[in-house]
Amino acid sequence: MDLQRLSRLFLPALLAVALFQSGGVTPAQAQNGPLRIEITEGVIEPLPIAVPVFVAETPQSADLARRLSDLVAADLEGTGLFRAIPRDAYISTPASFDAPVSYADWKAINAQALVLGSVRVGSGGRMTVKFRLFDVFSETALGEGLQLGGRESAWRRIGHKLADQVYSRITGEGGYFDSRVVFVSEEGPKNNRRKRLAIMDYDGAGAAYLTDSSALVLAPRFAPDGSRILYTSYETGLPQVYLMDLDTLRRRALSDQPGTMSFAPRFSPDGSKVVYSLTQGGNTDLYSAPVRGGSPTRLTSAPSIETAPSFSPDGSQIVFESDRSGTQQLYVMPANGGEARRISFGQGRYGTPVWSPRGDLVAFTKQNRGRFHIGVMRLDGSEERLLTASFLDEGPSWAPNGRVIMFTRESSGAAGGAALYSVDISGRNLKRVPTPAGASDPAWSPLLK
């Protein structure tokens, strides 16, 4: 376990963010129409964008300048919405960060947007990164210049923050690159799988383990502030919900009800409550408990299976799965319990519902005719769209901006294994997320501060 690396990752106040307004730069204006990608319309043709190597303002920052600009380009290209123009096609490269932009040179290679940056590494490994974004064809800056400071070791976070700026200024949506994923790392054969909790950047970089594999662990979930996780562990022999602080890696059982099994936990949006499944006498129902401790409230009382609860972003409702109709289906009920209404009515079985952070959609796992799908639907069950299909896809988790979903894909057969994949909500840009070993049960963090 790489604890040292982990503690560095979690040091607070990593970044000092300052806005600066430089001479002659004005906010984007709608001259030729604003540069804008409408994500909802589904992008077929990625937007060509130029990300020249950032200007190194000190000799020792040259390598960092290249890594940072490459990371920004990789983040943007990874969305499927942008295409970074190869640098050998550039007609000119910026001589300095403050030099006037040679728009004609960028128009000539059809760059729609231009990302400029500079890097200075000062004493003690502190770096200062400046950033600007330009709409090439309207010859204007897109938003204000930005200056970010931090220790050189935090360069990835700074790169992700810059890419988030580009993404949100052009799409009008929140970004998601400066985020992390907790997941279950899996090793060993199918009948002897060893599982432990791990955390990494959203793009698979910097993976570190949070537990060893001495006890089976399942399905971690982030607190709304990203500082803690809930997960299920068999460390007592029975599955039980645990709370772990990511700074200290200290953990405690959420509740201590002897002889019961609990799993499928999720935080309320304000972080004060946990909703989860508790099994007694073979029957599984939903409960809610204060995170600080205290007696749980029973939310459902039915002989059927009630599990996989997820709060609405305003905390007023819970979407969950139940087989009360005879097969697994999705239901919505008030957060304090009460009458539930069924929202899934299509062919097959529906499970693992997760409310989108934007509140507009629920993502789910669907089983139909021997295949598994990740899909989304509106909260009234309308506009169901299946985004994936495979032998076994399950467990969607939303990106902080509600535009991308990460999930588990398990391959079939004796040599089958689990891996993480992501897909956008239009069903495009399906890709594998790199992990050190097999991986399952991803949970996407909120955007980091």
């Binding site: 199918k190 009948n191 002897n192 599955p239 099994t279 029957n283 599990t307 693992t352 021997g370």
Partner: protein
């Protein structure tokens, strides 16, 4: 609903018959028992010889696993007991009645065709169905505890029904009875 049957002579014969066909299965399973409480997340590949006693000693765990049958199997997405399962459980209940030195942990399992949380709940139902049946056969509830592993602990690894049907199971794992030492 649990489907219960009274024991008939015919069923007793079928119990013996089941024991005969279960024997090779149970022996095969011995090389790969889904053991609980071994302190690791991994399956105990080769338990020390003799740790479960002499399989010819009818009071040994080895005998229970091999000759009585330590597991029952379920239909897809069901937790009701099949007649074959009930026959095995009748034998388990009889054995437990004759061997008070043991308690049992009942593990419920599911095959891989299902979502993780649902399969945990399904495994819990299966373990509870076995527990209820054993209690109905006179086993004291205080000797029985249950755990679900959902789809986390398959014994067979192929992605075909011949493997799935072996993974949809409840396994009765014997332990020294509380208070009797180990």
């Amino acid at each position: 609903m649990l489907h219960r049957k009274t024991i008939s002579k015919g069923l007793k014969r079928s119990v013996r018959w089941m024991a005969m066909i279960l024997l090779p299965l149970a022996l095969a399973a011995c090389s790969n028992p889904d053991r609980f409480g071994d302190g690791t997340n991994s399956v105990d590949l080769q338990p020390a010889i003799g740790a479960q006693g002499d399989p010819s000693d009818p009071t040994s765990i080895a005998y229970f696993n091999a000759s009585v049958g330590d597991r029952v199997f379920f239909v897809v997405d069901q937790s009701s007991l099949t007649p074959q399962a009930e026959a095995v459980l009748v034998s388990q209940a009889n054995w437990l009645a004759a061997n008070p030195a043991y308690d049992a942990l009942i593990e419920g399992h599911a095959d891989e065709q299902g979502t993780r949380e649902y399969n945990l709940a399904l495994g819990a139902r299966r373990a509870a169905a076995v527990q209820e049946f054993l209690v109905s056969q006179g086993v004291s509830p205080s000797r029985l505890t249950t755990v679900t592993y959902g789809k986390e602990r398959p014994v067979e690894v192929c992605s075909e029904e011949r493997c799935y049907e072996r993974n949809r199971r409840a396994v009765t794992v014997l332990r020294a009875a509380a208070g009797l030492g180990s």
